[in-house]
Every structure is written in C-alpha cells, then in structure tokens.
C-alpha cells in the first residue's frame, strides 16, 4: 500500500488501514468491545517501527529533517527493551562511559538493526572524547551521580 507523507496525515484519520500493532491488530480493531472480549494485549498497543517511519516521512516532507531523523531513531528503538533503553541513556550521560563502553552499546544497537542510533552513539563517543566527557578508563571511575537533577 502506497503512503503519501503529505496527504495521508493524520494516519489515524486518513489511512487507518495502514496502522497496525506489532501483532497485526488494525487500528479500528482497538476498541472497547475488543478489550472486553479479551482480544487485546497491553504490550502490543503502541506504535510500530513501520508507523514511526511513516511519521518520520511525514515530518521530513514537512521540512523537519531533525524531527524526522529522531523519529527514525525512535522507530529503531521500538525493538530495544526498555531496560536497555535506559541503560544506553545512562551510558550517554556525562562521565558515565568509556569510549569502549559506548562502542559496545553501538554494536548492540547494530545487532538490533538500530544502525542510525548506533551511529549516533558513536558520534557521541567521538565528541565526548574531545570534550573529556568520558569516564576515566584507567581508574574505572565515573563521575558521581546526581540522580533526579533532570
């Protein structure tokens, strides 16, 4: 089915038939009646990588390159378990990782076919190296954590 990133937005309204969950539930099957019947699974009820790539295409067609790139990374991350997402986020915080540790995460992302995100992590590692935002490899020390300072 062709998808027109200019004319087909919002997908939920214009192209609901294109929107499915990971297990193939169609958008118009996500109803209270279906929930009552027990045919919906909570973990399944979120955007798929396909949908997020279509949203990325919509953003790109609207001239929003950076938002589109971010939505493409999001599409890649749909298959990354939540714990790993948070672990990668923590690894990217200043002073948390050595260059090698970030490279390990990049390789893990490559394994999960998250190649754009893997590249993003490698670019971070390069910048961190220059700006001394990596943890000290020899001492194995990380900067003291300051949780909740977001």
């Amino acid at each position: 089915m062709s998808f027109d990133p200019v004319g087909d937005y919002p997908l939920g309204l214009r192209r609901p038939e294109l929107v499915r969950t990971a297990t193939g539930v169609a958008l118009d099957e996500i109803t209270l009646a279906a929930a009552r019947a027990g045919s919906l699974v909570a973990d399944d009820l979120r955007a798929t990588d396909t949908t997020l790539r279509q949203q990325a295409a919509v953003a790109r067609a609207a001239g929003r390159r950076q938002l589109a790139d971010n939505l493409e990374r999001a599409a890649e991350l749909t298959t990354v378990p939540a714990d790993e997402l948070l672990a990668i986020y923590t690894a990217l915080r200043p002073g948390r990782s050595t260059s090698a540790e970030l490279e390990t995460w990049a390789e893990r992302l490559d394994e999960l076919a998250a190649t754009a995100t893997a590249a993003f992590v490698r670019e971070a590692a390069e910048a961190y190296e220059e700006r001394r935002l990596l943890s000290d490899e020899r001492a194995g020390q990380v900067r003291p954590l300051r949780e909740g300072s977001l």
Binding site: A82, I88, P94
Partner: protein, 765 residues
C-alpha cells in the same frame, strides 16, 4: 546618617508594596546577568570549508564545546547556511515582521542561522514587533494552553476532579508531578481518568524522573513528557548530568514508546547554575533552542520557566523572555511559553509580562495554568491559579483573544468533577487500590482545596503505587475497570488515547487532540497567518463561547429598578415661572417617580423628595416641585428648574440620584454645586443639598455640602448608570414644557404659580 533628611510618604508607601520584595539589579555580564547583547556574546560567524564547519560564532572547530559540536553535526542545514548567514541582520529582522514574508520562508532561512545570528536578529525587534513575529511564527494555527494539576495531599480524587475540570475548560494538555516520587503511578492514573471524564483527547503527563516516566509511558498512563532540560553552556549541561546526545537519545526513546516529547529550556538557568560564561541570557537561549531542534524534538517549553524572576531582575527581562519564545517558533518548534512559575509578587507586573505571549497566542500560552488554588501547586509555581480564572476569562473577553481557557458554568464544573471523582473511585476499587471514600468524592467535587479533603493513609497509597507498576497495570486495564463499573464514556476516552498512541500522529510538531479525536498539528493545521483576514481569528462560535462568562448578564434584566405601583407624585399642568424670592425649585427628571422609582443607591424617590423639601424649609426656603420633560441631562434639568424659580435657584435631580444646584444666570453646564456621586448619597445628603439650595436662594453664605469620593463607584456602577440614564432618556418628551408636581402623599410643598417661560428651550437627546 542624617536623621533630618525628610522621608517622602509616597516613597515610603511604595517601598512597602509586595513588588519591592523583588530585587532589580544592574546588568552584570560576567555572571550572565544581562538579557540582551552581552559584551561577551560572539559575533555571528560561520565558516564552511569543503562541506565542513571550521568556525562558528567566534570559535574555531578545535575549540567547539559539546553544544557547538552537536549543532554543527545535526542542527545547521549547510545548504541554506551560506545564503542565510549572508543576509544582513536588519533585513532578517524586517522579514520577521513583514506580513508578506510567509512563515515557511522564515523557517527555511532559520535552518542556516547560528545561535549568535539568531540572537542578534531577534534582539533587533521591540516588544510589539516580537509579538507580531510570535503571531506569525507560531507553529499551530490555533493557540492552546496547558494546565498544572497537583495537590499537597496527592489525593487522587482531587487530582481527577481538577483534571476533569481542566479538560472541560479546554486545556489541551495536563501536567502533574509528585511530592513523593513513588506516587507517580497513582497521580498519572488519576490524571488519565479525570482528563477523559472532562473531555476526550486531552493529553496528560507526569513530571518525574526519566526511568519512572518511561515506565508510565510504556503502560500508556501518560502520553507526553516535557522533562528534558537543555542548557546553553557545556558546564551547566554537564552539571545537569546530561549532554545534547543523551537528551536527544532520551527523546527518541520516549518517541519509541509513543510519547510526545517537548524539551525544556529558558533564560537565566545558566546564570543561576553559575556558568553563564559571561554571555547574555538571550544568546545562551539561542544555543538552547538550536540544540532542541538539532536533537529532533518537535518542541520546547521555554520562556525562562522556573528562572523567570531572575530574568525579570535585569533590564529588558520581559522582552528577552518573549524573544526566546519567538526564537523557538522561528526554529519551527512547538512553544509552551512559560507563564507557569510565579513571575512577580505584583499582579500588574506579572500580567504585563503575560501579555507578550497572551496577545499573539502561542501553542501553549502557559506551560501550566494552575487549575487549583496556588498552595496546592506542588510545582512550586502557580503564576495564575484557580482564583484568577475569572480574570483570565475576562481579559480574553476584553481583548477578543483566545488564551485557551473556556468559561464553564458552576453546574457543569460540578458535574464533570463529580463524574471524574466517582470514576477514579471505581477504578481504585476495581484495581484493588486503597479505597477512595464517598466523603473524598464529595469533598473533591465541591471543595476549594486539598485542605477540604480528609487525609489518606499515605503509606498504603505508595505501596499500592509500587504494586500497580509491579502488576503491569496499563491503560487497557484502566479502560476495562471503568467499563465494568459503567463509566463507558470514560472507558472510551481511555481507549481513544490508546489508539492515538498506536497511530502516533501526535508525535508531529505542536500536536493536540481535539474533542472529536482528530490530531491537529503544524502538519495538518499549520499557522498560515499573513495579516488581517488570515490565520487564526477569534470569531464565530468560539468568540461567542469565550465572551459568555457564567456571570455575564443580560442588561435588559437590569433596566431594572422597580417601576409601577402607587403614584408618588401628581402632575398639575405646565409649570410657570415663580415670583417668590425665597423659592427653590426642585426639578426632577422625566422618569423620576414614574418609570424609575428609586435612586441608584436604592433610596425611594418619595423619600428623596421629602428630604430635599425638608432641607429647603429648614434653611428658610420655599420648595416647589417641577418635572423637566424635555431633557434628561442633570445640568439642563437644573438650569430649566432655575429659570422657573422665583429666586433663580433650583436643585436638579436625575432619577438615578445625581443632583445639581443651579442658578438661572449661569450657563447651563456651569453650576453652583454638583453632586455626581449618586451611589454614595443618603437621605441626609439630600437634606443638606436642600439646605444649601435654600441658602443660595436667600443670599446666605453657603459652604459646599461635604461630599465623599469613591474612586471605584464608576467602575462598579457605570453599567447600571448607563441603563438608568437610558430609561430616563426614553422618558424625554422633546420640546415638552415642564410640569408642576406635588407629592401624592405626605408633605405637599407650597405651590407658587408663576408665568410661563419660553425662550431658550431646546430639545436634547
């Protein structure tokens, strides 16, 4: 110290005002305490060699900090940068306010501008130009608003009730937070249920630590997040325990779970955190919003946010805050424009600041309007709160501006609050959470604040909150719980949020969900403002809605003071000129004691006449009553009366109670004494007026009747005055001669026949 230096009473009085609790400081650039044009702000600069940026804003590539590197890698669009950076500052500034330069062109050019250039150009706009630019550059066509929903007791019934009211009032997004972190799942749950009870489609968030937030998002208990802060200098970014890369990654992680993400930044944060590097607030904010766009966020909440009072301490602070909002919009970002943290102790000052965002309209005029009383706002903010709602609604009505809040009747508010509290009570019961009692339901529906609610077992609540996450309770479970207990509409609302999460349309720029479930964003509902007649205009049904406040009244219902009943005066035929040198004519207006029967102060006309007659007699005068029919203006009523009076003195009296003592030889608009404060007069006042009128007639020395002054009388009563005067004017009979009156009952003044007087009669009104 010189004890003899006199103190001005006025300076001393002003020094006591709440405003003066705030410090105003001279700029101190070294600490970043300067709004615009910091002496250390770099010159705008971009050097591109063989497709690579080798210099930007005064730094060589080798000196780029983590922010510069990020901007160069992801933010700047080099295909437009050369063209855009070559445009003179003034030309760019003029484009921002040129009604013929469309938003799309401005956004295209901005993709190639460095932070220093952005700050330089925006700094060329004055206050009104900034507002106009904001109106042009807002991403979404319609302005919107976001609410804060919290309470000190973290009572779920009250959270649900406030969420429902906020949703019903038209807020597009609701944000809660926690006093105690472990409450997050319960607060998010209460917000979700309450919001959908108020209006389907309203998006909710719970501002908590990222891991917890992501968990809530995965369960579908929240739909958006705006906790991702960015800063304009590397040391502050790192002190915030993040980098542009980590924040950008987090944004993608949220989006991967179907969460709409908005970043947060704001002027003053770098100075507050001690590493402004001698740069101006606006320049550093230009770096922030550039990072936000480079990170791929669809939007930002900015406008100094929690640092607002710091930005306002320096000259131009208010202007800089609007400038940063405009910058974000120029970079094609959704803008939630602050106005949530308390900007000032002074209602005047903070509202003057608000106008910058309120009048042009932003995607979210506030980043959180406190729908509950301020002390229940656990964000530590509450710039505008539940007690200010009527003011907000009235200002919308005054300016014909849509600030995103709708008037709702008390009955309807109570209905949605009741519905929401019963719904969350049912959900708590179904999900085996600590019971919400009927007493809490009632108090949350009708109470003023959390003080009206009973205390809950907080230990039990936080344990239940942990358990809720451990049991993986999701939005689907919430919908089913609602459904089982008959809250089908709310269940449908929650299911609709689930569908939206699957379709992910709300990840596009400036997305909101309208009551019909349609996502409206900058993609399908872009701001196309190009001057008068275009873009969003508050008119039609929406304008009718926003002008009809619950306490608006039909002036026809006010016209109003009772008429009819027994006759108070009897008309005896045309009044002629009197001969008695002691005569004082009491000349009343056309509607007096007829169509209108009491003054604006509620004094019966019969009593007023009796008091005047008494007063005239007390001072030795001879009162005589006449009605002037040709005119309703008090000066002419009095002057016409004076020309009938044997002494040449009359007291003219309008039906609403305004009086004038006049002399026939004066010009009509001159007078001896004017009593224009009719709402303040008692019968004793009228008696004193009568005495004075007689004094003038008898040629005695007369001291003016002491009058009080109520400076607010006009504001309070001008509408009633207008309506009363309209009734008086309707009773005018053009050209009709005056008629002699007597009181129908009680004291009858002595009647003095006289000759008719014709010259100079003119018809008015």
């Amino acid at each position: 110290m010189n004890a003899r230096v006199p103190r001005s009473g006025r300076f001393a009085s002003r020094a006591e005002k709440e405003l003066r609790q705030e410090l105003l400081i001279e700029p101190w650039a070294e600490l970043g305490l300067v709004a615009f044009d910091g002496p250390n702000d770099p010159e705008p600069e971009l050097v591109v060699e063989r497709g690579r940026v080798t210099r930007m804003d005064g730094r060589d590539a080798s000196e780029f900090d983590v922010i510069d590197r990020f901007l160069v890698a992801y933010g700047l669009d080099l295909d437009v940068a050369i063209e855009a950076m070559a445009l003179p500052d003034l030309e760019l500034a003029r484009m921002l306010v040129d009604v013929d330069v469309p938003r799309g062109e401005l956004v295209r050019v901005a993709r190639g501008l460095t932070p220093a250039k952005l700050a330089r150009v925006i700094g060329l706009l004055d206050a009104v130009e900034l507002m106009f630019a904001m109106k042009k550059l807002r991403a979404r066509r319609d302005p919107g608003n976001q609410a804060h929903v919290t309470n000190l007791k973290e009572n779920p019934a009250l959270l649900a009730a406030d969420a429902a009211e906020a949703a019903r009032r038209g807020f597009d997004e609701l944000e809660t937070t926690v006093g105690v972190a472990r409450y997050a799942p319960l607060n998010a749950l209460a917000l979700l249920v309450g919001a959908q009870a108020g209006r389907h489609g309203v998006m909710t968030q719970c501002a908590v630590e990222e891991r917890r937030n992501l968990e809530l998002a995965i369960r579908g208990l929240v739909t958006y997040a705006e906790t991702l802060s960015v800063y304009g200098t590397e040391p502050v970014f790192v002190d915030g325990d993040d980098t542009p890369w980590s924040k950008s990654f987090l944004g993608a992680a949220y989006a991967s779970r179907g969460v709409k993400v908005r970043f947060t930044s704001g002027t003053g944060s770098e100075a507050l955190m001690g590493h402004a590097q001698g740069m101006s607030m606006l320049y550093l904010e230009a770096r922030c919003v550039s990072v936000v766009r480079a990170a791929g966020s669809q939007g930002v909440q900015n406008g100094s946010i929690s640092c607002v009072a710091l930005a306002l301490s320096v000259p131009g602070g208010t202007r800089a805050i609007l400038a940063e909002n405009v910058l974000a919009a120029w970079l094609d970002l959704e803008v939630a424009s602050g106005n949530d943290a308390i900007a000032s102790h002074s209602a005047i000052r903070k509202t003057a600041k608000l106008m910058g965002q309120f009048l042009p309209g932003t995607d979210f005029v506030t980043s959180g309007y406190s729908v509950m009383p301020r002390r229940d706002n656990t964000f530590g903010g509450g710039n505008y709160d539940a007690d200010d709602l009527d003011e907000w609604l009235t200002i919308q009505r005054d300016w014909q501006v849509d600030g995103g809040i709708e008037p709702v009747t008390e009955d309807e508010v109570l209905r949605v609050r009741g519905q929401a509290t019963r719904a969350i009570q049912a959900v708590f019961d179904e999900l085996q959470l600590p019971a919400i009692t009927d007493r809490e339901v009632v108090a949350a529906t009708t109470g003023y604040s959390s003080s009206d609610l009973p205390d809950r077992d907080r230990a039990a609540d936080v344990e239940a909150a942990d358990d809720l996450l451990a049991r993986h309770v999701s939005a689907l479970d919430v919908a089913l719980a609602l459904d089982r207990r008959g809250f089908v509409d709310e269940a449908e609302g929650v299911m609709a949020t689930v569908r939206q999460r699957v379709a992910a349309d709300y990840l596009q720029t400036a997305a909101i969900i309208d009551p019909d479930g349609l996502v409206r964003s900058a993609v399908n509902d872009p701001n196309t403002y190009l001057g008068p007649g275009t873009g969003y205009r508050l008119e039609g049904d929406r304008w009718a809605l926003l002008q009809a406040l619950p306490h608006t009244i039909d002036p026809r219902s006010l016209g109003g003071l009772p008429s009819g009943g027994e006759a108070l005066v009897v008309e005896l035929g045309e009044a002629l000129r009197g001969e008695d040198a002691a005569e004082v004519v009491i000349a009343v207006g056309p509607a007096f004691a007829g169509e209108i029967r009491e003054t604006i102060n509620g004094l019966a006309h019969a009593d007023v006449l009796a008091a005047l007659v008494d007063g005239v007699r007390e001072a030795g005068g001879a009162p005589r009553l006449a009605r002037i029919r040709r005119v309703a203006d008090v000066a002419f009523i009095a002057h016409d009366g004076a020309r009938l009076s044997g002494s040449g003195i009359a007291l003219g009296l309008q039906s609403k109670g305004t009086a004038v003592i006049h002399r026939a030889t004066l010009q009509p608009l001159d007078n001896l004494e004017l009593f224009g404060m009719s709402p303040l007069y008692s019968l004793e006042s009228y008696r004193a007026m009568g005495r004075n009128a007689a004094g003038y007639a008898l040629g005695l020395r007369v001291g003016p009747v002491p009058t009080e002054l109520d400076n607010f009388a006009r504001a309070k009563l001008i509408v009633r005055t207008t309506l009363l005067h309209a009734r008086e004017a309707r009773a005018v009979v053009p050209g009709a001669p005056p008629v002699e009156l007597v009181l129908a009952a009680g004291t009858v003044p002595r009647l003095v026949p006289g000759s008719s007087q014709a010259p100079g009669v003119r018809s008015e009104l």
